[in-house]
Symmetry: C2
Subunit: 419 residues, 2 copies
């Protein structure tokens, strides 16, 4: 018999202090989103392998943990020798399962449906600092609403939730960046790129923060695009002023490639969201915001904390995806927060762990009588009923060390019962 | 592209009403157990396949969902052709992961350590009514306490938690059954069975509720045991009176096979627990209680609701198991509640689903101006900040049906904004 003490590669054991922080953050998320009418749902962690490899997941499809067939099915697969040993896989995000869920349960759900999901996802990525193979995602999605109301609700809910969470560590300043895939596409078309090249051009533009406009220029030229087109395209982003307004930016784009309603819609979202934000929170039009996933079709958004160079939440409109599962077109829009990043930032700022509050320990010595023991337990029960945390433990030989470890968790009151 | 709308076999999509009930029960469990000083921990859903197939899981080891190796590891496994395609598996219980966790993190944890785990487990069982391939388990365990205090804390915590949950549906009467593996073993030894046959004899006795003593007699005779021994053994259980006391029952067992401290220990547990129980809850010595898992070493216990013929919680002492992972002997005792069964019972009694409270919906018509929309959103935000549930939705063409579906979730206040 060979036992292995460590968790599987890239995954974590959560200590009590980790769990207190995670549960605290999760409960704030659930509570805030619930007031906006988002309803919590849950799907199994496993999905049919066919759904997970349907080209909706981008690069994540390469990182699937596959679950093996069992019994006769596995036997048949081995005999056939075609390598199709898996029938299921662990989900790599919460969006593909949501699309399947909505196709499966649509008639039982209100329309539009405001979904909230908090759950783990798994990716067989190379483990590195702060990136794990099992991690928690928190998504809200609105299905069946093609109006700007969906974006407005998603952004106000997420911004207000983040304000509450970060207020606890004194962080109040963050920025909601917003853009629209149709605007991004129109700029590329106007410069002379063809419709089918937009995806590849945006993959280059998405590297703006890392390689800048000159890097993007090299990237596009290496991609074989004509220099003239590339320079015409980048000129738009070179000349744009920080804090540019949507109307101003879009005025330069011909109506044939960008209908007026696209920029009007985005302007409406910003106008309705801005007055709802807590002091310190900004919403800005960000013409170079792209977001990775290929499935976005309209407005896209991201939240950054001022002073950190990564996003802590992101989302957008993906009107085509649900239809691929349900056969019926369903407009959809979602916002996903980076739960693990948020927890990491909170942990850094807290300089220590989240401790128990109002917790006491009764330590019972070796020679205490049954009657005395019963008395102590009865007293503990009374305090517990009043909501206090009370533990009753046998006293260790090294009671000093025992108390130290309990203090580390937040216990502050100790009573030693010797007799 | 082939999309499948239904969840994988034997697993469920949770609708919003399901989730409200589940979250409500989970939060009562967490809250109650926390007051007893149990600390929530979490392990990854995946474990090394070696740990899962280490003979600690009994029949569950046949039901493992195995996770395939990836990349070069998988390639090597296929070339070798030895069928070892899996490196991990989904956990089938929370006890094996706890044993690994404690071996891995022991120095960072208080001692004794009171663990609380709430998580999903997976078993590739044949799906049937009320039995799923993904289901939630809620376990509390005390590691490092060899005294009766562990059993007392586990039983009072679980009984008080169950009393609270079931009080909501007016169910107050349940029974904690308690026995000891050492008493079970002693009765078998005294009748003439050998030490190594105790396990097999107990497997027969465990069928008491289903086949009665005559069925057990057939079972044992078919197992090849001498008629005389079998009849001497069963005579003990035939003559025992309902509600027999521990002292009375154990008086007939010779001291050589049952040291007095075993029955004294069990008597102490009952004496300390009994006064702590809510009205309607009993604790009884149940000499035919066996419990399935082979790893129990001392007191075992089970909770039944009066009127239902299945248990809703069960546990016991398993002093040998942790040591197999850590190499050091660690006494351990745990209680696991049947979360899915409890949820099913609550759902049956509630005659309907758990609904939202204090929820209102603003339905916005097609031609509402941006300014009016902003006003409505601002009003919604104000109510949300006060903790109310408010959703703002575009009005559907069939607004009657839209309201019906919202009412089904618990929305009671509606405001239609046309202009």
């Amino acid at each position: 018999m060979k036992f292995i003490k460590t968790p599987v590669k890239g995954m974590c054991d959560m200590l009590p202090a980790d769990m207190r922080l995670r549960e605290h953050v999760l409960s704030m998320i659930k509570k805030t989103y619930a007031t906006y009418g988002f309803m919590q749902i849950e799907t199994p962690v496993m999905e049919h392998i066919e759904n997970l490899t349907s080209k909706q997941g981008g690069d994540n499809e390469k990182l699937i943990f596959k679950v093996m067939k069992r019994g006769a099915d596995l036997q048949r697969a081995i005999e056939k020798g075609d390598g199709e040993y898996a029938d299921n896989g662990l989900r790599y995000d919460l969006t593909v399962p949501l699309a399947r869920y909505y196709a499966n349960n649509r008639e039982k759900l209100p329309t539009p449906f405001k979904a909230m999901q908090l759950g783990n996802v798994w990716r067989a990525d190379n483990p590195q600092k702060g990136r794990f193979r099992q991690f928690t995602q928190c998504d809200i999605d609105i299905l069946g609403d093609d109006s700007s109301l969906a974006e407005i609700e998603l952004i106000t809910a997420t911004a207000s939730m983040l304000s509450q969470i970060f207020a606890e560590i004194g962080v109040t300043d963050f920025t909601v960046h917003i853009n629209d895939r149709q605007i991004l596409g129109a700029v590329a078309l106007a410069a002379g790129f063809s419709e089918e090249n937009i995806g590849s051009v945006l993959i280059s533009l998405d590297k703006f923060d890392k390689i800048g406009l000159d890097g993007i220029r090299n990237d596009l030229l290496q991609g074989g695009y004509p220099e003239e087109t590339v320079d015409r395209y980048l000129a738009v982003y070179r000349t744009v002023k920080e804090g540019v307004g949507i109307e101003e930016f879009c005025a330069a784009i011909p109506q044939e490639v960008l209908p007026a309603r696209v920029s009007e819609n985005l302007a409406e979202i910003i106008a309705c969201v801005r007055p709802m934000l807590c002091p310190g929170v900004k919403i800005v039009f960000d013409p170079t915001l792209v977001r990775g996933m290929g499935y976005y079709t309209g407005p896209i958004f991201e939240v950054t904390i001022d002073g950190y160079n990564f996003s802590i939440a992101g989302g957008g409109r993906y009107d085509k995806m649900i239809g691929k599962f349900s056969g019926q077109n369903v407009p959809a829009c979602g916002f996903s927060i980076g739960f693990e990043r948020i927890v990491t930032i909170l942990k850094d700022h807290m300089q220590g762990s989240m401790q128990l509050q109002n917790a006491s320990a009764y330590l019972i010595g070796n020679h205490v009588s049954r009657e005395r023991k019963a008395e102590v337990i009865a007293k503990a029960m009374e305090l517990r009923r009043a909501g206090e945390i009370v533990t009753v433990l046998p006293m260790s030989k090294n009671v000093g060390h025992q108390i130290e470890l309990l203090e580390a968790e937040g216990f502050t009151k100790f009573e030693k019962i010797y007799e």
